[in-house]
Amino acid sequence: MNPPRHTQTELIAAAQKGDKRAMNTLLESEYDRIHSVCRRIMGNDADAADGCQEALLAIVRGISRFDGRSKFSTWTYRVATNACLDEIRRKKRRPLPSDHVEELPLSSQSHDAQTTDRMVLSAALDQLADDFRLPLVLRDIVGCDYREIGELLNIAPGTVRSRIARGRKHLSNTLGNQTDNETVIEPKPPSESGQSPTHRP
C-alpha cells in the first residue's frame, strides 16, 4: 500500500512546525528550479553551489514566514534570488565564467543542435556582466516584473528595461552567430535578402 500523499499545503504546514520529512519533500520538489535560478544568477557552477546552499538554508529558516499569499514555488524563487544576490554582494567579486566556456565544441558533430545551442547560450549568459545578467535571469527565469527587478537590484525600472534589452540582444546575436556557424542547426526564417550563412567551418 502506498503511503498517503500529502498536499503541498499540508507539507508546508508540517514543515512550519518543524517536520523535517515534510521539509525534505518540499525541498526535493523545488530543488531543480532553485538550483537553476542560482546557477544563472551566480554565473558559474562553483558559486552556484554556494548560492544554492544559502538559498535552501534561507528557505528552511524562513518557512515559518511563508503565509500562502503567493505560490510556494514563487516564494522559494524570491527567497533564492535574495540569497544569491546577498551571496554576490558578500563575495564582492564577479563570478568566474563557467567551465562551459572552455568546453564549447568547435563543431556540432558530436552534439545535437539543441545541446550546442544551450551550451552557447549558457556560456554567453555567464559571460554577461552582472548588471545585464541579473535582470535577464530575474525576468526570464524567475519571472519577476520590471518593478520587482528594480527593487531587488536597486535600479530604476527604465534601467531594467534597457539592460534586459541589451542583454537579450547580445544573446540573440550570439545565438544568431552560432546558427550561422553550425550546419546542423535549423536555419532561422530566411531574411529578405535570402542570403545563406557565409561563415561555415
Binding site: G18, K20, M23, N24, L27, E28, Y31, D32, R33, H35, S36, V37, R39, R40, A49, C52, Q53, L56, L57, I59, V60, R61, R94, L96, P97, V101, D117, R118, L121, S122, L125, Q127, L128, A129, D130, D131, F132, L136, V137, R139, D140, I141, D145, Y146, R161, S162, I164, A165, R166, G167, R168, K169, H170, L171, S172, L175, G176, K188, P189
Partner: protein
C-alpha cells in the same frame, strides 16, 4: 594589438529605442503609446512586430528553458541534507540557552535555600540569645553563635556568587538574607554558575600554529574537541568570557561558546561561531587578535 580578456564580463552595446521597446513588449511591459510607436515602425518598414521581435523572442525563450539544467545527485543530496540539518540548529542554540536557564534555576534554588538558612539563623540566634539571656550568657557569645549561623548562610551565598558581593560579616542577619536575594543579579549569578561548572582550563597550542583566519576545524584535535560543535555531543558548553566583545562583531545568537587556549605564554579565548568560524581574543582584556 590588444585582445579582450576572455574572462572579463561583457557589457553589451546600447540598443536603439525600437529594440528596447520590442524587448519590453515581449515582457508585457509596454504601455499603449509605446505599442503604437512600435506598430507604426513596423508598418513604416513593411514588416510586422512578430518579425521584428523574432530574434529577441527566441533569446527569451532559450533563456527561460535554461531552467532545466541537470543537477548532480550528490550535490542535490548534500545541499538538501545541509539545509535540513539547519532545522536542528535552533535546538543546538536552545541547548546552550537551556544550560543557562538551568544554571539560573539552580541559582534561584540556592538563593531560596540561602534565605531559608538565614531565617533559621535569625530564629536560632534569637532563641540562643533568649536562652543565654535566661542563663546569664554574654551577648558576645550569642553574637559569635549567630555569626556562625550567618556564616553558614553566607557560605551558601559564596557558592552562588564568586564576585564576593554576598556579605559574610554577620553584622546583620537581615542584611545577610537580603543580600542573598540581592547580592548578585540573576544573569551574573547564572554566568558565574556556568563558569564554576565548567572551569576554563587553557589548552596549550603550539606556538607555530597560526590562529589568524583559522576555523574550528583547522584547530588541533584536542582543542577542537572542546567545542560542542566538533564533538557533536551535548558536552558542556564553555560560556564565552569575551562574549560581549564578540557580540559587538556578530549577532549574539551566532556565538556558541569560548575555548581558552595558551600559546607562547599568553592566554587567548577562541570564540566559536555557529558557522564554525572563530574570533580570537587575548585574555584577560578580550583584545581581539587579527
Amino acid at each position: 594589438m590588444n585582445f579582450p580578456d576572455p574572462n572579463s564580463p561583457i557589457e553589451p552595446p546600447e540598443v536603439d529605442d525600437i529594440t528596447a521597446k520590442l524587448s519590453a513588449l515581449l515582457d508585457g511591459e509596454l504601455d499603449r503609446t509605446e505599442l503604437i510607436d512600435v506598430e507604426q515602425f513596423a508598418v513604416d518598414n513593411g514588416t510586422t512586430i512578430d518579425e521584428l521581435s523574432a530574434d529577441l523572442a527566441a533569446s527569451k525563450v532559450a533563456v527561460s528553458h535554461l531552467v532545466t539544467d541537470p543537477v548532480p545527485p550528490s550535490t542535490r543530496s548534500a545541499h538538501i541534507g545541509a539545509a535540513l540539518d539547519a532545522m536542528e540548529m535552533p535546538e543546538v542554540k536552545s541547548f546552550a540557552a537551556a544550560r543557562v536557564d538551568r544554571a539560573q534555576r539552580l541559582n534561584n534554588r540556592l538563593r531560596r535555600l540561602t534565605a531559608v538558612a538565614a531565617i533559621f539563623a535569625v530564629v536560632g540566634g534569637i532563641g540562643l540569645l533568649s536562652v543565654q539571656g535566661g542563663f546569664g550568657g554574654s551577648d558576645d557569645e550569642a553574637a559569635t553563635s549567630s555569626d556562625d549561623s550567618a556564616e553558614s548562610a553566607a557560605m551558601l551565598e559564596r557558592n552562588q556568587s564568586a564576585d564576593g558581593s554576598a556579605s559574610d560579616d554577620g553584622d546583620s542577619f537581615d542584611a545577610s538574607a537580603e543580600e542573598a536575594f540581592e547580592g548578585a543579579a540573576p544573569s551574573e549569578a547564572g554566568d558565574t554558575d556556568l563558569a564554576q561548572s565548567v572551569p576554563p582550563e587553557p589548552i596549550s597550542v603550539p606556538e607555530a600554529f597560526d590562529l589568524a583566519g583559522a576555523t574550528l576545524f583547522d584547530l588541533p584535535a584536542d582543542v577542537r574537541q572542546r567545542s560542542s560543535i566538533a564533538s557533536g555531543s551535548s558536552a558542556p558548553v564553555n560560556e564565552a568570557i569575551c562574549f560581549d566583545a564578540a557580540a559587538e562583531l556578530v549577532p549574539q545568537e551566532e556565538i556558541v561558546e569560548g575555548i581558552i587556549i595558551e600559546q607562547a605564554g599568553s592566554e587567548f579565548e577562541l570564540v566559536v561561531l555557529i558557522n564554525e568560524e572563530l574570533f580570537v581574543f587575548e585574555l584577560p582584556e578580550c583584545v581581539q587578535v587579527d
